[in-house]
């Protein structure tokens, strides 16, 4: 869980970095070019498959782990220890992970499916757009506008998905390092601090994207 978790954590930096291009406020030009680069490069397409494998291993192993751990105590307590021993999100990694998975399915349906499979299986294709070199690329930005503008339930689900991600990372970031054996006090403090900041900044940045489009903060 720790290794795949750290792999997915590194992916989130790339994902939020590219999405942040929408704030260039250039009608999505920088964002579309960045998204095109992510789709056109052979190296990145290979890495994309690695990412899928990482996701699948993390999800399957997570479900197996939660089921196994739950089965270790057939009779529960009358009075629960609750927050006296640990944080609620540390105890709810399975639930938070499931919420993120549900969000992920919706998110892939919105963007990955038309971007990669558009034109096949009756899936709509993304509109083309051409910039200075005249080459047509997918207008993923237009798709973002279409998905989020005036669509408050979808925006709300995305924001809730980012909340789940934030709390999942709040525990997962430092726990991954502990699973790999980190116990040097100086580094533990650094990892905890960086982990907390990461768990707030990255999901906040991701949540701001649908909100920015919904509230017309970007053109």
């Amino acid at each position: 869980m720790g290794l795949t978790g750290l792999f997915l954590i590194s992916f989130l930096v790339v994902h939020s970095g590219i999405n942040a291009c929408i704030w260039a406020n250039d009608h999505g030009e920088m964002f579309n070019k960045a998204a095109h680069f992510m789709g056109a490069s052979v190296v990145i397409r290979i890495l994309e498959n690695g990412l899928f494998v990482g996701f699948i291993i993390h999800i399957v192993q997570g479900f197996i782990l939660v089921a196994k751990n739950r089965s270790r105590r057939k009779i529960g307590y009358q009075v629960a220890l609750g927050n006296r021993g640990s944080r609620w999100y540390s105890r709810s990694m399975g639930l938070l992970g499931t919420l993120i998975l549900l969000f992920l399915v919706l998110h892939l349906y919105h963007f990955w499916t038309p971007s990669r499979l558009g034109g096949y299986f009756n899936i709509h294709e993304l509109q083309p757009v051409a910039y200075e070199n005249g080459k047509e690329i997918h207008n993923l930005y237009a798709e973002m506008l279409q998905v989020f503008q005036g669509n408050s339930p979808v925006v709300l689900i995305y924001v809730l998905g980012c909340f789940s991600l934030s709390f999942h990372l709040m525990h997962g970031f430092q726990s991954a390092f502990r699973t790999l054996g980190l116990h040097n006090q100086r580094y533990v403090v650094i990892v905890k601090t960086v982990g907390t900041l990461y768990s707030i900044i990255i999901p906040l940045a991701l949540a701001m994207m649908p909100l920015s489009i919904y509230f017309h903060w970007v053109n």
Binding site: N69, R72, L81, R87, S90, R178
Partner: protein, 254 residues
């Protein structure tokens, strides 16, 4: 310190044997002194029950000075009760006030089956120790303290890990019923010392394998074990155990 008497309502888990379904039974105890230990309060209750011709409550206890790790009560939702770094026998009744209701349960984990009432079978811990928690080199006669140089900080860390009394509170508190804090304390205690060095790889592999075999859950680093440990064993030991395990599983054949 203020001395006072209190009347209490106790909800205690009663179970005839491992096969019995078990249930909570409510008892009233009167005139309990704030100076008593929690186990002395149970002694008073048991004397009352014997006088009434009822079966006394079975509970584990031995040294009653916080070092043997035998007492094992889950009091008001916390192993060893409300005080930090304290065993049940060292918990005093001044932690409670007159009129309180106290719920007392046994440790709950498949690996710790209930023997009777509040007594659970913790022999799984003994078997984990038998799997590798020892040094098999011949140490000969006792040598002078400074014959073998050991860095002070390592000696201190080892000693802190060796403070584990194997009570099982970590398993009781963990939502996964994981024994990782116990195993990590035992592995760290020996791995940090030169005497433990020769067998450190096989020790960690054997102990972890046996821990899994006994039916304990996996660690998810929630920290509940560290929070309730009467000897305040650090969660850092689990990270050290993970590192030892990772290194050993990559380098050892078995």
């Amino acid at each position: 310190m203020e001395h006072y008497k209190m009347n209490l309502t106790l909800k205690v888990w009663r179970q005839k044997n491992h096969q019995d379904k078990g249930q909570f039974v409510t008892y009233q105890v009167a005139g309990i002194s704030s100076e008593m230990s929690f186990l002395e309060m149970f002694d008073v209750l048991n004397e009352n029950l014997i006088e009434e011709g009822k079966e006394p409550i079975a509970f584990d206890h031995d040294c009653r000075e916080g070092i043997c790790g035998t007492c094992s009560m889950y009091i008001n939702g916390r192993p060893h009760g409300p005080w930090q770094g304290t065993t049940t026998c060292q918990l005093h009744m001044r932690a409670f006030k007159d009129g309180d209701t106290i719920v007392v349960e046994p440790w709950r984990a498949n690996a710790f089956p209930v023997v009777k009432d509040l007594i659970v079978d913790r022999s799984a811990f003994d078997r984990i120790i038998q799997a590798g928690g020892f040094i098999s080199v011949n140490t000969g006669n006792a040598v002078d303290g400074n014959t073998l140089p050991i860095e002070k900080s390592r000696a201190d860390e080892s000693f802190a890990a060796a403070a584990c009394i194997g009570c099982g509170a970590c398993v009781a508190a963990c939502k996964n019923s994981s024994a990782m804090l116990f195993v990590s304390a035992k592995v760290s205690h020996l791995a940090l010392l030169p005497q433990g060095e020769p067998e450190k790889h096989s020790r960690v592999l054997n102990m972890i394998t046996h821990m899994d075999k006994e039916g304990f859950g996996a660690c998810s680093n929630t920290g509940a074990c560290e929070a309730v440990c009467p000897k305040e064993i650090s969660l850092d030991n689990i990270a050290r155990l993970n590192m030892e395990y990772l290194g050993s599983s990559l380098t050892m054949d078995k």
